[in-house]
């Protein structure tokens, strides 16, 4: 698969094009230019490292939305075995923007749930661009209850621009569906391990992101509103999105510093989309570690720790009332 490059990667794109060209020439050339190719490849790698070493939050948001970034099903197929997708909310429909089911993680049965985006136009529409409707959240809820009944840990993968803002979604109770999930996840009696793998878009993300361990991939984002949305409300111009991204604090590094997430899972140089296999390996290790962390706890300890963590969210101060 050919990498598609983002705006700020233009220099890398140019180098890669040149390397490609040289490779093509080399095939029917008597002169050995492999040394030159090697030199350029090294240069390209270094350039990628440099650029990715100092991404702005807005650039990170672009990487998080990269069209070749691995999606939930890519991770599920690489990390889990015996995946059986389970469909539907038993009330209205099967929402394709959320996938879930039973699977084995290192042989151990678990329930996996994730937002799912589409790769090509047709699939994007089928997955509704990863924006769930109420039935998607209710399917997720049903699977969480299933996990609780059979005492299986839940692993969720978050990657959505947000819950779908549509007429039908409102008619069927988008708000209630999200709120209900928050409520149930707060008291679900099995471990929940949450990984933000791409875009963590607002309430639509949070509705499957309350858990005992919350980790983020290095170039994923998690925010209360998209940078564009924030900019168009507060600056009255979506073009101020880079500023909004900066000030809201949407990157894994910033959120880790603020104490809102537990762990950052590093991505391959140049982002997860450059090497799905390596990314999946790192995530596998991180999930293993997270699972080990929570499996030692009794149910009561697990729930108390989760509750304490939820109650600890927020920054304020206290002063005598005048």
């Amino acid at each position: 698969m050919k990498t598609s490059f983002l705006d700020f990667e233009q220099a890398i794109a140019d180098l890669e094009a040149k390397i490609e060209e040289l490779r093509f020439v080399q095939d029917d050339s008597a002169v050995d230019i492999s040394e030159e190719i090697g030199r350029l490849e090294k240069k390209s790698a270094q350039l990628t490292k440099d650029i990715y070493g100092k991404l702005t939050p807005w650039q990170v948001a672009q990487v998080a939305r990269h069209p070749q970034r691995p999606y939930s099903l890519d991770y599920i197929s690489r990390i889990f075995t015996d995946f059986e997708e389970l469909h539907g909310d038993r009330a209205f429909a099967d929402d394709h923007a959320i996938v879930g089911g039973l699977a084995r993680f290192n042989g151990q049965p678990v329930v996996v749930i994730g937002h799912q985006k589409g790769r090509d136009t047709k699939e994007k529409i089928f997955r509704n661009f990863g924006m769930p409707r109420p039935e998607g959240y209710r399917k997720a809820l049903r699977l969480m209850r299933l996990a609780e009944k059979f005492d299986l840990p839940v692993m969720t993968f978050v990657d959505t621009p947000g819950a779908y803002p549509g007429i039908d979604a409102e008619e069927r109770g988008q708000s209630e569906a999200i709120g209900r999930n928050l409520y149930v996840m707060a008291e679900l009696k099995v471990p929940i391990i949450v990984t933000i793998i791409g875009e963590g878009g607002s309430g639509g993300a949070l509705a499957i992101a309350v858990g005992d361990v919350v980790q983020m991939l290095q170039y994923s984002t998690y925010s209360v509103i998209s940078p564009e949305g924030c900019a168009s409300i507060l600056w009255k111009s979506a073009e101020k999105a880079p500023e909004a991204a900066e000030t809201m604090g949407i990157t894994a590094a910033r959120l880790k510093t603020l104490g809102l997430i537990d762990k950052i899972v590093n991505e391959p140089v140049g982002g997860a989309h450059r090497d799905h296999a390596v990314m999946a390996q790192s995530l596998h290790k991180a999930l293993q570690e997270a699972l080990r962390q929570v499996s030692g706890l009794t149910k009561a300890e697990l729930l108390q720790t989760r509750y304490d963590r939820l109650m600890s969210y927020g920054r304020f101060k206290e002063q005598p009332v005048s």
């Binding site: 819950a163 779908y164 803002p165 549509g166 007429i167 979604a169 409102e170 008619e171 069927r172 109770g173 988008q174 708000s175 209630e176 999200i178 709120g179 209900r180 928050l182 409520y183 996840m185 707060a186 008291e187 607002s202 309430g203 949070l206 509705a207 309350v210 998690y222 925010s223 209360v224 509103i225 924030c230 409300i233 507060l234 600056w235 101020k240 500023e243 909004a244 000030t247 809201m248 604090g249 949407i250 959120l255 603020l258 809102l260 509750y307 939820l310 109650m311 969210y313 927020g314 920054r315 304020f316 101060k317 206290e318 002063q319 005598p320 009332v321 005048s322």
Partner: protein, 289 residues
């Protein structure tokens, strides 16, 4: 007051108490935004800000809401000691502390939620009321903490919890902290349920976004005021996404009742009676006079 002064750099400090918009005398007459009837302000006040001609419910301030619901005796406020900080150093066209200061001056409140313990017709309760005039009733860390403290006191004193919402959603100026308040507030309610204590959610105009999509709909009983705008996404966002005109009455209380999203619509003038009745029924208490 002092905490706000400290929050602001000296150059943007205002003259103290120069103008408090909230305290300015209102006009003698006002026009109903719904039926355009010209109304005598006193009549409107006496009618709890409900238009006597068409029944349109104007928005109320948080403390007006509490006065409307609670008995006058034996109230005490919860969580007033919790006040906001600018943890992200957030700045758009204005700095966050500046916005907080303006909201404080306009409302005389230090954030967008007022919580009180008291009684409704002698039935003890804890009530939380949103102050929409304070930054659109947006939910940030202070709101979340006051809400949770209210719920905790309800749990400790074996009393029901009531929340009256009026909010545009999460407070963007607090970034992800504000999103997490959705999880925090909703999680606190699980403790209320563990003790079989009722949570009554009263949705008023408007109840949107992160507030709508967290605790608002997990009430044991969900009440809406007539014609209130209630929903997850704002009408404008939906219109831009689906590119069609929204149906008549979309996201209004009556629409929600029709779709099965709320239990009942209650006229503000009957709210106190209805809530008392529901509380008595849920707690197996004798009928309230």
């Amino acid at each position: 007051m002092s905490w706000l002064n400290k929050l602001l750099p000296p150059k943007i400090k205002r003259e103290q108490g120069a103008q408090r918009r909230a305290n300015l005398p209102e006009g003698l007459w006002s026009k109903c935004p719904s039926c355009e009837a010209v109304l005598y302000a006193t009549d409107l006040d006496n009618n709890l800000q409900v238009c006597p001609k068409c029944g349109h419910h104007n928005r109320l301030r948080a403390r007006q809401r509490l006065d409307l619901l609670l008995d006058p005796e034996g109230r005490f406020e919860i969580g007033a000691e919790v006040v906001p900080v600018d943890s992200l150093k957030f700045k758009d066209s204005k700095r966050y502390p500046e916005r907080l200061m303006e909201a404080f001056e306009a409302t005389d409140e230090s954030d967008s939620l007022v919580v009180m313990q008291g009684a409704i017709k002698n039935l003890p309760v804890v009530v939380a009321a949103f102050e929409f005039e304070f930054m659109g009733g947006s939910m940030g860390s202070v709101l979340g903490e006051r809400f949770v403290r209210g719920v905790q006191i309800a749990v400790e004193s074996d009393q029901p919890f009531i929340c009256i919402t009026a909010s545009g959603g999460a407070r963007m100026q607090e970034g992800l902290f504000s999103l997490m308040q959705m999880a925090k507030t909703t999680a606190a309610l699980t403790k209320l349920s563990e003790k079989d204590l009722p949570f009554i959610s009263i949705l008023t105009d408007p109840t949107m976004g992160g507030v709508s999509a967290s605790f608002a709909f997990v009430g044991d009983v969900v009440i809406a005021e007539p014609k209130a705008l209630i929903g997850f996404a704002g009408p404008r966002v939906i219109e831009q996404t689906v590119r069609e005109t929204l149906p008549e009455g979309f996201q209004r209380s009556e629409f929600l009742l029709d779709k099965g999203a709320v239990d009942l619509i209650v006229d503000r003038r009957e709210m106190r009676d209805k809530v008392a009745q529901l509380l008595a029924l849920l707690q197996k208490l004798p009928a309230v006079a």
